[in-house]
């Protein structure tokens, strides 16, 4: 069967998607470039025309996932008019995104096996830092507007919020069904946390 020649961009895209599926199924170690190439319906040499090695391919896959989820979460955040309502919406958005793209998000977490070696672990750490800066800033803004308790330390509280957000990704990576079976219970925890940050105990907007 003659293989259709795809433009370089499309070929890259199909390889990245194949890497997602492959990694989500087999984990980082067991998934080889040969597996990824075959999943994408091409030979290994073609994969190597686009990516230097498995590591580079996985890094690109990871960057793309971070971009996708960030865009989605930020878009949902911006639909709300107050900082705390925005944060509540963002947590729900992260949950929804994970539930809708379980293998994509699983592949992302499985791609973090080599911590502290070279620059390979930068993406996940950078993502966490950007998220932390954003959440801290949003809380500070809430304090300026008077909707967030003044005695709260945004930098610290942001990590509590991020912990609740991040455990959804971790549960997904571990293959646990717990938070996904009961969205209402999960959101109740987020809601309680954010009410605790509110100056009035309520979340307006």
């Amino acid at each position: 069967m003659a293989r259709r020649r795809l433009p370089a961009e499309k070929r890259r895209e199909s390889l990245l998607k194949a890497a997602e599926r492959c990694l989500a199924r087999k984990g980082y170690y067991s998934c080889t470039t040969a597996d990824i190439a075959s999943e994408a319906g091409v030979t290994e040499p073609i994969l190597y025309q686009h990516f230097e090695d498995k590591r580079e391919l996985v890094e690109c896959m990871r960057d793309r996932t971070v971009q996708d989820i960030s865009r989605y979460v930020v878009r949902r955040f911006l639909q709300k008019t107050t900082p705390l309502a925005g944060l509540r919406e963002a947590a729900e958005a992260a949950f929804d995104f994970t539930r809708r793209h379980r293998s994509k998000m699983r592949a992302y977490y499985y791609s973090i096996p080599e911590l502290g070696r070279g620059g390979f672990h930068r993406t996940p750490v950078d993502r966490l830092h950007r998220l932390h800066s954003a959440v801290s800033y949003i809380l500070e803004e809430g304090q300026r507007q008077g909707s967030v308790r003044k005695d709260l330390k945004p930098e610290d509280f942001a990590w509590s919020y991020i912990a609740l957000m991040e455990i959804v990704y971790i549960a997904n990576a571990l293959g646990l069904e717990v938070p996904f079976n009961d969205k209402r219970k999960y959101l109740e925890l987020v809601d309680r946390l954010l009410r605790n940050a509110s100056a009035t105990g309520e979340i307006e907007g």
Binding site: G27, H129, I167, L174, N196
Partner: protein, 204 residues
């Protein structure tokens, strides 16, 4: 009862192989550590390793189980000293963070095992492993509800899983060598947990 000399020797060398493999996997990851490396680290032959572990994967699983067992044993050792649930949860998280900081090799194995979660055998094992923990924590949550520090409207089972997951979150932050967390040490666990615990108290 005395253990026959041969049995005792066998048990020791199995444990020594696991310890050597732990160091190798932590330093070079699963792919990078060969059975020859592990044999050299343990000071025995490759053949001797294969007598205890049919494959590298089996050896990795043995290492992982030993790491999780150590973590849990360490945690539960701190258990009886707390007055109420918030204090107990705080102590558990701090103990976990302290232990992980003192045992960087183990920390790396925990992170490694998440990336191995895709394989079916691991999946079954981790659910089992964590279900026991969640059940134990569930009992503590129920006690918290009974003593009035946790809202009775909360679902103890659901909450116990959330707490197990927060343990993993802290492990990740530590493995990332996160700038905010490192200088704060175990205090970071308290800072993260405090607002969450406050928000779980009964509503006035």
């Amino acid at each position: 009862m005395t253990v026959p000399a041969e049995r005792r020797f066998r048990k020791n060398s199995r444990q020594e192989i696991i310890q050597a493999a732990l160091r190798c996997f932590a330093a070079r990851n699963y792919d990078g550590a060969s059975m020859s490396d592990i044999a050299q680290e343990a000071g025995i032959t490759k053949r001797a390793i294969y007598r205890y572990f049919p494959s590298k994967r089996d050896l990795f699983y043995a290492v992982r189980d030993s790491v999780y067992r150590s973590i849990v044993e360490n945690l539960w050792a701190d258990l009886p000293k707390a007055r109420d649930f918030p204090e107990l949860a705080d102590r558990l998280m701090r103990a976990h963070l302290r232990f992980s900081m003192e045992n960087p090799d183990m920390l790396r194995i925990v992170v490694n095992t998440i990336s191995e979660a895709a394989t079916r055998e691991f999946q079954e094992n981790i659910e089992e492993l964590l279900a026991d923990r969640a059940e134990e924590i569930g009992a503590l949550v129920q006690a918290g509800i009974n003593e009035g520090t946790l809202d009775p409207q909360l679902d103890p089972e659901f909450l116990s899983w959330i707490i197990v997951l927060i343990f993993f979150f802290l492990t990740y932050m530590l493995a990332f060598e996160e700038d905010w967390l490192l200088p704060r040490g175990e205090e970071a666990a308290s800072i993260i947990l405090r607002p969450i615990l406050e928000s779980l108290a009964p509503r006035r």
